[in-house]
Amino acid sequence: MGLIPFIVRKLLGGIPLVLGVTFISFLLMVYFGPDRTNEIVGKNPTAEQIAEVRAQLGYDKPFFARYVDYLTELVTLDFGLSASSGQRVSTVLATAVPITLALMAPGFVLGNLLGLGFALVAAYHRGRWLDKAIMGASVVGMSISFLIVVIFFQLLFCSSMGLNWFPSRGWEVDSVSSYLYYVTVPTLAVVFVALGYNTRFYRAVLVEELNRDHVRTALAYGTPPARLLCRNVLKNALIPIITRVLFSIPLVLISGSLIIETYFGIPGAGKMTYDAITQGDQPVLKAVVGLTAVLFVFTLLLADMLYRLVDPRVELT
């Protein structure tokens, strides 16, 4: 199958996924999400006032009419105004998402690269002390709660009780140095937590690859270790690696950054989503859920195309 028909087919196949996700999430939002009426009405509302506010919020409209409105918003990418702040949802997203990307990218990239590096070392030395040391450290890293790590790093690097080198909160980025100033400690926390998970996962993938016949043959020919690992092992292990990396991105964007953003006072997408959930800000929530579903569809598509790129035997079907 050609590339264009493949893309079209994949995108069409993603429509039921988007519909399913949006329908279930909207159902939960409407029937189990916070009701903003009580926040908005004053301290002594009458039943009429409550009804008035509900009408203003659109709560009195039938469910399916609201769901159709939602799909229309998703298609037109116009989610209106945030129910909480009154800002355009597009503005809210445009402000928050780049911050989260800038905040999480170094930790995400470093966490994966270092995880891969440690995994290569551990896999190559499997069963020996270096492997055991790396795996032991990974388990320790995985066993410590992210929240504890964040608090500890904040105390260690950002407080008068510790080194006090970095800011304990904020995001006033306008240059490379200010970016490094604000991103370093969150990055260290993210790397610390992600490293264990990534190392264990990649090691498992790489060990399996190291046991293959072609690797043994390459070793027999005296291939240098770096070349062996990069060309013969890593290249063949790329499919599970790509899968893990790509499918982490939507999660990192939306949920992975919540604790970091909350503790470091960074106005990113994680905090925005959390606030939207707790405040019942349906326009923002609808945008986040809908766009995340769409992002997943594109991620699936991209993953399939990358599989084909790294392994020509993969069929575009």
Partner: protein, 610 residues
């Protein structure tokens, strides 16, 4: 196979690269680490303060929380405000020239506005230049609360109070139509006519809700006014997101100077805070105010103790032990006393526990005998509740326990009221239950609702323990969790729960604000979620509601207070102490009560040295 040495060398090289990457990043970052943001400009006075929650938006019509008020009152003008330092709180004119002229019948208020006060420059105005604030703007801003499009949460202040305003809403909220009770006979005179006397009116005109909004800004920004404020306050908005608000000096702000004596300065109370240096300075004193919203206690305290990152923050109750050398009186440990000033003041509100009297198992029924038994049950539960233990367990004994619903922060408070209703009496509770015929078998199931949180769960467990002591079976006290505060508030408004444990923050320093919590016509969905309906109480409330402050009104207030106590509607109460710490280099007297939004312009901070 590769040799062991080679393998080891490869691992070492990798670890070295890893270390270099991390160190390089840290060294690069440290190049600007002096605990201030790299973007700050030298020579500016930047005040940094933390609040515990993020305001929903910055539209005065939605200014329902102290967090919103803190910001809104610095962006918008109000007719009145509170003196910076006077305690008890005292009203003073702000946009008004003086306190209003009130007619003999208390129905007509004439308010003269200051001349020359201008809205900040904004594209909403012709040629982007702010125009003068007039009485018509005040009329418009009050009308706006009654426009359904606004979704105001502040209309209850003036509902059924101002002649013609409710009818204006019913008629379609057409701004072109006049309202009898809101007149602007000239550009700087406002006349408010009331349906009946309303002594608290001036207090309402000092709230964030009463912020004066220009019509042009609403026309241009609509709902987005919530994040694009256009006022005439001392500060303009530079930035607003979920983590902070940045306010910058409004360059067009009028010439106002600090008169320390007029603000209630008392050397005995305020000496040593460096406030003398602000006398005569032009307002606002600080060039910029950065308000950070930090819900997490550890993050807030870390930021405060870091040095320079934050000047003022509330100390969480769970950290009193770490910071305070003593709680009676509250005093800082020496290492913190060198760095911080502290004020430990009661909140402008209280926490209390109501029964929903519409609940047939605990409230008033058609059967007088059953109602009497239910009352005995309520009284027994209240006798079994231990406010002292709640205070020591969760508020480091810094809360003030008091009987009734008139809080210690209002002038009508009676310090001599007997304290038996807030003193635990387990034998008395058991005796009441026995006399009324209650026993473990026939006691009704008591559903205890909480917004889901660890602290609220702990409150519940403690309550269940208290009740166990008076013989209430554990399995009959049932926990019901709600996902958010909004959800449980909805349950209260729908009378779904028999017991309501909550806090109330006063809108103004007048006991009427807590007494209305038990006024019959305010029953659910209104603020009287106990659904207390006592005709005698309601009559007294209506009688007092039109009286000016004075001994007669206070006497009536206290009679009403006693009724609520006697009927075992509510076990009250505890006013929490708020401990505020601020950097000693800063001349300030922070407040989270009625002056909360008004103190920012008075804060003097050393200029940035970078």
């Amino acid at each position: 196979m590769m040799s062991i040495q080679k393998r080891g060398a490869m691992g070492s090289r990798f670890l070295a690269v890893f270390a270099i990457v991390i160190l390089a990043q840290m060294l690069g970052a440290c190049s600007c680490s002096d605990n201030t943001a790299p973007t700050e400009q030298a020579g500016l006075k930047v005040y940094r303060v933390a609040l515990d929650q993020t305001p929903r938006d910055l539209d005065p019509a939605h200014s329902s929380t102290l967090y919103q008020n803190h910001i809104v009152l610095n962006l918008y003008d109000t007719l009145y405000s509170y003196e910076y330092l006077a305690r008890p709180y005292k009203l003073k004119p702000r946009l008004a020239v003086e306190l209003p002229e009130v007619s003999a019948d208390g129905l007509t208020y004439t308010i003269r506005l200051r001349k020359g006060v201008r809205f900040m420059d904004d594209p909403a105005f012709e040629e982007g230049k702010g125009r003068e604030v007039t009485a018509a703007d005040v009329v418009y801003s009050l009308k706006r609360h009654f426009d359904p499009e606004t979704l105001s949460s502040g209309d209850w202040f003036w509902k059924n109070r101002i002649k013609g305003l409710d009818a204006w809403k019913e008629a379609g909220a057409d701004y072109a139509q006049p309202v009898e009770g809101l007149q602007a006979p000239d550009s700087h005179t406002l006349v408010i006519r009331l349906t009946k006397p309303y002594p608290q009116l001036v207090h309402t005109l000092a709230q964030g809700y009463a912020g004066v909004v220009p019509r042009e800004a609403v026309a241009r920004y609509g709902r987005e006014l919530a994040t694009h404020p256009v006022g005439s306050g001392p500060y303009k908005l530079e930035k607003f997101d979920s983590t902070q608000v940045v306010l910058v000096r409004n360059p067009g702000y009028r010439e106002d100077r600090v008169d320390l004596a007029a603000e209630g300065f008392d050397p005995a109370l305020h000496g040593g805070l460096g406030l003398e240096r602000i006398d005569g300075l032009a307002l606002p004193i600080s060039d910029r105010v950065h308000v950070y919203f930090i819900a997490e206690d550890t993050a807030r305290v870390t930021s405060l103790t870091k040095g320079g990152e934050l000047h003022t923050a509330r100390l969480p109750a769970l950290m009193y032990e770490q910071f305070l050398a003593s709680t009676e009186p509250a005093a800082l440990k020496s290492q913190y006393a060198e760095q911080f000033n502290m004020v430990a003041g009661l909140e402008s509100g209280f926490v209390y526990m109501n029964f929903n009297l519409d609940d047939p198992d605990f409230g008033v029924t058609d059967d007088p005998a059953q109602s009497a038994r239910n009352k005995a049950l309520r009284c027994a539960i209240f006798k079994g509740f231990d406010w002292q233990l709640r205070n020591s367990a969760y508020y480091s004994n810094l809360g003030e326990i008091f009987p009734g619903i008139i809080t210690p922060t209002v002038p009508e408070f009676d310090p001599n009221l007997p304290r038996d209703t807030v003193t635990r009496d387990v034998p008395g509770a058991k005796k009441l239950l026995t006399e009324a015929g209650w026993n473990a078998d026939n006691l009704p199931e008591l559903v205890y609702g909480i917004p889901s949180s660890v602290l609220q769960t702990q409150y519940f467990e403690q309550f269940r323990g208290f009740m166990g002591d008076i013989g209430y079976p554990r399995d009959k006290i049932v926990l019901k969790r709600y996902a958010t505060f909004g959800d449980i508030a909805k349950a209260w408004r729908n009378s779904e729960l028999p017991l309501i444990y909550k806090g109330w923050t006063l809108d103004y320093p007048d006991a009427e604000n807590t007494l209305q919590l038990f006024y019959g016509p305010n029953a659910a969905p209104g603020s009287n979620d106990s659904n207390y309906r006592n005709p005698a109480y309601d009559r007294l409330f209506e009688e007092a509601s039109v009286m000016q402050p004075g001994t007669n009104r206070t006497a009536i207030y206290r009679r009403m207070n006693q009724m609520v106590i006697d009927d075992c509607v509510s076990t009250t109460g505890l006013s929490r102490t708020q401990v505020l710490l601020w950097d000693k280099r800063v001349a300030a007297y922070p407040d989270r009560g009625f002056v909360g939004g008004f103190y920012f312009p008075y804060v003097d901070v050393p200029a940035q040295e970078r």
